[in-house]
């Protein structure tokens, strides 16, 4: 608990992220309307206030409810894709760092090639080939954001590889896999968690960007990115349609980033 009191960023970040997670889990109980089915053209494009706190969209759906349900999509994609990335990046980085030699060269060259293509463009290409669906987004984002994790995992592994305790366990006859899992992985956990946290924020933003461009989450699913791209068309007549989904996105990503900052300070107090 002391950590939270000293580390304000971690505290604020955790509160925001926790709140968004709770909202996503309990969406059906919090949302005043159904995000998709409660369309009623009689209430189309109602401004915020009254029965619809944040107004309604062109189909007369309650925007507040859609934003609340949108948290589910954003968080699901953020956590699942970043989970994938962490697994891929950590495994490749550990192998590259621990095995070394040609394997290292091979993995790192591949990683550097991947790094030279911006993630948004890579994800765009993958989605163009696979066609838009939730699964394609998982694949597109799950396979593009692991490069940074891989580089850090490799660098950290290299720095621990020659430490005495690794040497000791090797002389005790532990297999290489056991050394990596029992002795190296726990030691590099902190930096990897920090990267994973920032990665969740990146994945959430990328999903929103792809949905904004029309190739991410498909309507009628209430994705914040899709809502924003619809909202753009009503910038003159119904600006609330582009203000609030973006605000939701900003708060969520801000919370996750603050948490990442806080975690980084916790593991590496030198950066303060």
């Amino acid at each position: 608990m002391k950590v939270f009191i000293k580390n304000k960023q971690l505290l604020i970040g955790s509160i925001i992220t926790g709140a968004v997670i709770l909202i996503a889990i309990f969406a059906p109980f919090i949302a005043p309307h159904h995000p998709v089915d409660d369309a009623n053209l009689l209430y189309a494009l109602e401004p915020p206030g009254g029965e619809f706190l944040l107004g309604t969209d062109r189909q007369g759906r309650c925007q507040l409810s859609r934003i609340i349900y949108g948290a589910r999509i954003s968080l699901l994609i953020g956590f699942v894709t970043q989970g994938l990335n962490t697994i891929i990046g950590t495994s490749l980085g550990l192998i590259a760092g621990f095995v070394g030699g040609k394997v290292d060269d091979l993995i790192m060259n591949f990683t550097n090639i991947m790094l030279s293509i911006p993630p948004l463009i890579l994800a765009l290409t993958i989605l163009a080939i696979l066609g838009p669906s939730l699964l394609s987004i998982f694949i597109a984002l799950g396979l593009t954001l692991w490069t940074y994790t891989c580089r850090v995992a490799r660098a950290q592994t290299l720095s621990f590889k020659e430490k005495e305790f690794v040497e000791a366990s090797r002389s005790l006859g532990l297999s290489r896999i056991k050394i990596v899992i029992r002795h190296i992985l726990p030691n590099i956990f902190g930096p990897l968690l920090v990267i994973a946290t920032f990665g969740v924020a990146t994945a959430i933003l990328l999903e929103a960007s792809l949905s904004f461009l029309g190739i991410g989450t498909q309507p009628p699913a209430p994705s914040w990115g899709t809502m924003l791209s619809r909202g753009r068309d009503y910038i003159y007549s119904a600006p609330w349609l582009m203000i609030y989904p973006g605000l939701a996105l900003l708060i969520t990503v801000l919370g996750v980033n603050l948490m990442g900052d806080g975690l980084r300070d916790y593991w590496d107090p030198r950066t303060r």
């Binding site: 290409t125 904004f212 461009l213 190739i215 910038i235 203000i243 973006g246």
Partner: protein, 276 residues
């Protein structure tokens, strides 16, 4: 939303003719060799969607993208470094906290939303600037997309500059410089900033490359006719040659920028040398 499979024509005869016309009736490895040998000669192929060469599409959209990327970079680099410098020098002051709060917002805010909000405030509400379009490349049309691109970069540079300055600040040579009676301003610029510049340049270079990627979304927001719009439109219509060509040019730009940054190191930091 994506259109259907580009191969899904109803009439098999038409389908065959189209496949022959675009050269996709040949097996994969032959197409690959053809594509690569054309690529080496600088030919990126024909775009399905427009029937024009990909080279001409890219030639047409390259300059608008370069325009806003450079404009954004020129806006962001001095501002970001300046903010970070002030934050580091006045560590713990309200200026420091203010600029760090600004930068975490700048990093977290979705770019396209920032663009939309700027558009809403400055173009729709106050009618100061045009909302969308190229306007023949006039500076009035460039401001909104360039500022949208620049904001996250300012935020990131401010953070990086502050962190790397703080790293350097406690070094022995800084204490030596102070103890030999140099003016604080000289210590700050000659000793602290100079030594932090390497990591700032690295980030700035990487971010210049990222700017190119971010144009993809910012150009769509402002209907800017650059390579970003080109790649998105091509993806949406499954115009694979155009997608390939544009991404090839993006990757080329990315590599070029990293190369330039590597060379810059030698000039900035005399401690770095390449080769033996």
């Amino acid at each position: 939303m994506l259109a259907g499979d580009p191969r899904s024509a109803r009439n098999p005869e038409v389908l065959e003719r189209m496949r022959a016309k675009w050269g996709i009736d040949k097996p994969l490895h032959i197409r690959y060799v053809t594509y690569m040998s054309n690529l080496l000669r600088g030919d990126l192929g024909m775009s399905y969607r427009t029937g024009r060469t990909v080279n001409s599409l890219i030639a047409q959209s390259f300059f608008p993208t370069l325009q806003i990327v450079l404009f954004a970079f020129l806006l962001a680099a001095p501002t970001g470094v300046f903010l970070g410098f002030i934050a580091a020098v006045r560590r713990g002051s309200s200026l420091d906290i203010g600029s760090m709060v600004f930068s975490i917002f700048g990093i977290s805010a979705p770019r396209f939303w920032v663009g939309l909000m700027l558009m809403y405030l400055l173009a729709v509400n106050f009618r100061l600037l045009p909302a969308t379009g190229y306007g023949g490349g006039s500076i009035r049309y460039m401001i909104l997309p360039a500022v949208t691109l620049a904001l996250p970069l300012v935020a990131l540079l401010a953070r990086t500059t502050r962190a790397s300055l703080l790293d350097v600040m406690d070094e022995d040579y800084v204490r030596t410089a102070r103890s030999k009676g140099l003016a604080e301003r000289v210590v700050q610029t000659r000793h602290i900033l100079r030594n932090a510049v390497v990591s700032i340049i690295t980030i700035a270079g990487l971010q210049l490359a990222m700017l190119m990627a971010n144009t993809v979304i910012v150009e769509k927001v402002f209907s800017w006719p650059g390579m970003g719009s080109l790649v998105v439109d091509s993806v949406l219509r499954q115009d694979i040659p155009a997608v390939q060509g544009t991404i090839f040019v993006f990757a080329l730009g990315f590599i070029l920028i990293n190369f330039i940054v590597d060379i810059l190191y030698v000039f900035i930091d005399p401690r770095i040398k390449y080769g033996s």
